[in-house]
């Protein structure tokens, strides 16, 4: 066998092996991609939408519907989940649906906050924008919300803007309206909930 055909044969064999390995590696991307589980949207994990009422997320009255009378004046915030009034499904299958309801003096709200408020009551996502803990502490002297994990502080009177600690952006607001003495959801969250790797989105993603 001449030397030339030998090198050609080697090149062909090498190329075949290379193409085979390459295709094999590319095909593995499918199962690797599937390692991130698909998000299944069930009635329990659906995001809040217009017309949803709210129920207590914890405590003795867990699961009971919340009316304005249930909310303490000037705080503290009440941890709540949205509930579809038609089907009666409580949307507690998704942490990111957790909402803080706070009843404040309507005169103290900034104009932008008042737009989303109903009867002085405001609703914010309860998930800290810093690293995803629940913003579950209430600082009574200033009336601010605090996340217990890294002490991020939000002012609920000014669109939950960050007034202390490390969170990168305000808590997303949930527009409210009044209906039968109850705060009722008037639309979706004004910005993405929880930790976001990207920049703060300019517009709201309002799922009405």
């Amino acid at each position: 066998m001449s030397k030339k055909t030998d090198t050609t044969r080697r090149a062909i064999v090498g190329a075949t092996v290379g193409v085979g390995l390459g295709l094999g590696a590319i095909s593995m991307l499918v199962p690797i991609g599937a390692l991130k589980p698909k998000k299944e949207v069930t009635p329990e994990t659906e995001p809040p939408k217009k017309g949803d009422v709210f129920v207590f997320a914890e405590g003795d009255k867990k699961g009971d519907e919340i009316s304005f009378a249930d909310l303490p004046k000037e705080g503290p915030a009440v941890l709540a989940f949205p509930k579809d009034p038609k089907t009666g499904v409580i949307k507690n299958g998704e942490r990111n649906n957790m909402v803080l309801l706070i009843r404040l003096d309507p005169g103290e709200l900034s104009p932008e906050t008042a737009e989303y408020a109903a009867d002085g009551t405001v609703a914010y996502s309860a998930i800290c924008t810093h690293l995803g803990c629940t913003v579950s502490e209430w600082l009574p002297d200033k009336g601010d919300l605090m996340c217990p994990c890294h002490k991020g502080i939000y002012d609920p009177r000014q669109g939950a803007k960050v007034v202390g600690g490390p969170p990168p952006r305000p808590l997303p607001a949930l527009p409210l309206q009044v209906q039968d003495d109850k705060p009722v959801c008037a639309g979706g969250f004004t910005s993405p909930v929880g930790v976001v790797a990207g920049l703060e989105p300019q517009g709201g993603s309002c799922a009405v």
């Binding site: 803990c133 890294h150 002490k151």
Partner: protein
């Protein structure tokens, strides 16, 4: 019997090659062994835990309460004879393993043992330290109580804050947006199977390379017997010392585990909607501290809508840069000849002072983790961290140089031929 086996397995060759390996006599050389004892203890107690643990967050009925299965199985483990003790020993051994591995690394660092020809083992050691911390973290969420779920959520958030790939990486590790029903099975398999296997493989490679390359010799060996390897053989002397030390280790860790139950799952309770105030284990406290004092409005935009934000800087970038510096160290601080003797820390004032400054940085940033309790402001803490780190560097450099003088070139462990 020995002859019968020897004729088939050539045991004498194994004996000559491995069991007669000389161990230098110095107490700081036991740090690596303690790391390994902690790992063995973790594997053994871990086997006990896997036999009784149910890796699922589905709700089940347990003792009249509706609880996540994982949480209920920890209550069950605690009810077994010695169950709570073994679980505590598992917890404390993880702490000891990380501490011993870190101190072992500091010993290598200040004695210059990372230099040629041991760069590879320095890298393997760094990988082992990092993997130990990651493996410990994947164990955080397994009890599935209010504390562990919150702590894991923070880890999820740190991962998700990475630009572009963050969400994908976090969802891959935690089986979706933590906590989902996929989360516990996935983290469980990482914690009890894949990471321990990887650790075992890396530890094996670390040991084999160490046996092949031999330990660095303590500095006095150069005066006693230049060019010779001093030490006691693996069998029997070093073996007996290791055996005694292992029993001593077990005694101490069982004493601590028996008298102080780690992570009281019953007291933390099943996961709640609100978040309890959490503080991580000491080896994460410095990251936790940085995360608390980093300004939230710090944001560096990247193309395609991503950004580098404060969570990424505190949780990924700062630890990552320290890691990269450690990886590059043996390639920047090089030497032409093979390193045989340990360098005296006093002969290398810059390296030793940087090491002390690193410790000062880790301690002061850990102090920032107590921001709330001590009532510090961010400005005060940043001042303490920066001044503390720089002052530690300067004072230790000045002390070393004024007491021992600068090392002239060509001295201190560079005497031997190539």
């Amino acid at each position: 019997m020995y002859r019968w086996l020897d004729e088939r397995l050539s045991l004498s060759r194994f004996n000559k090659k491995f069991l007669r390996k000389a161990f230098p006599v110095h107490h700081s050389f036991f740090l690596g062994e303690i790391t390994m004892f902690a790992f063995i203890t973790l594997v053994l107690t871990g086997i006990f835990l896997t036999f009784n643990y149910e890796p699922s967050s589905r709700l089940i009925k347990y003792m009249g309460r509706e609880l996540p299965a994982a949480y209920a199985s920890i209550l069950y483990i605690d009810s077994l004879p010695f169950g709570a003790v073994l679980r505590s020993v598992h917890h404390w051994s993880a702490n000891v393993m990380i501490a011993a591995a870190f101190l072992h690394m500091l010993r290598i660092l200040i004695s210059g043992a990372y230099k040629k020809p041991r760069e590879l083992n320095w890298l393997l050691g760094l990988a082992l330290l990092g993997l130990s911390v990651v493996t410990a973290f994947t164990g955080y969420s397994l009890p599935f109580d209010a504390f562990s779920v919150t702590a894991t959520q923070i880890g999820y958030g740190i991962g998700a804050s990475m630009p572009y790939i963050g969400e994908w990486v976090s969802q891959l590790i935690f089986g979706g947006e933590y906590p989902t029903l996929h989360s516990i099975p996935r983290v469980y398999s990482l914690h009890v199977l894949w990471f321990p296997l990887l650790l075992m493989a890396l530890i094996g490679a670390h040991m084999l390379i160490m046996i092949k390359q031999k330990h660095t010799q303590p500095a006095y060996a150069e005066k006693v017997a230049p060019g010779k390897i001093l030490g006691v053989p693996m069998m029997p002397q070093q073996g007996y010392m290791m055996g005694v030390l292992f029993l001593l280790y077990l005694a101490v860790v069982f004493f601590i585990g028996g008298s102080y139950i780690a992570h009281p799952v019953e007291a933390f309770g099943p996961p709640t909607a609100s978040t309890p105030a959490v503080k991580p284990d000491w080896y994460f406290l410095w990251i936790y501290g940085i995360l608390q004092i980093i300004p939230g409005d710090l944001k560096i935009p990247l193309p395609f809508g991503a950004a580098i934000n404060s969570e990424f800087i505190g949780g990924v970038l700062v630890p990552g840069l320290l890691g990269i510096a450690a990886v590059l160290l043996p390639f920047l601080d090089t030497r032409k000849t093979k390193q045989r003797y340990l360098e005296l820390p006093t002969r290398h004032p810059v390296r030793t002072s940087v090491t002390f400054a690193l410790i000062a940085f880790l301690l002061t940033t850990s102090l920032a983790g107590w921001k709330q309790e001590f009532g510090f402001s961010n400005l005060q803490l940043w001042t303490i961290i920066i001044v503390g780190t720089l002052a530690t560097y300067l004072t230790s450099y000045l002390i070393i140089v004024s007491y021992w003088g600068k090392a002239p070139k060509g001295e201190a462990g560079e005497l031997e031929e190539a």
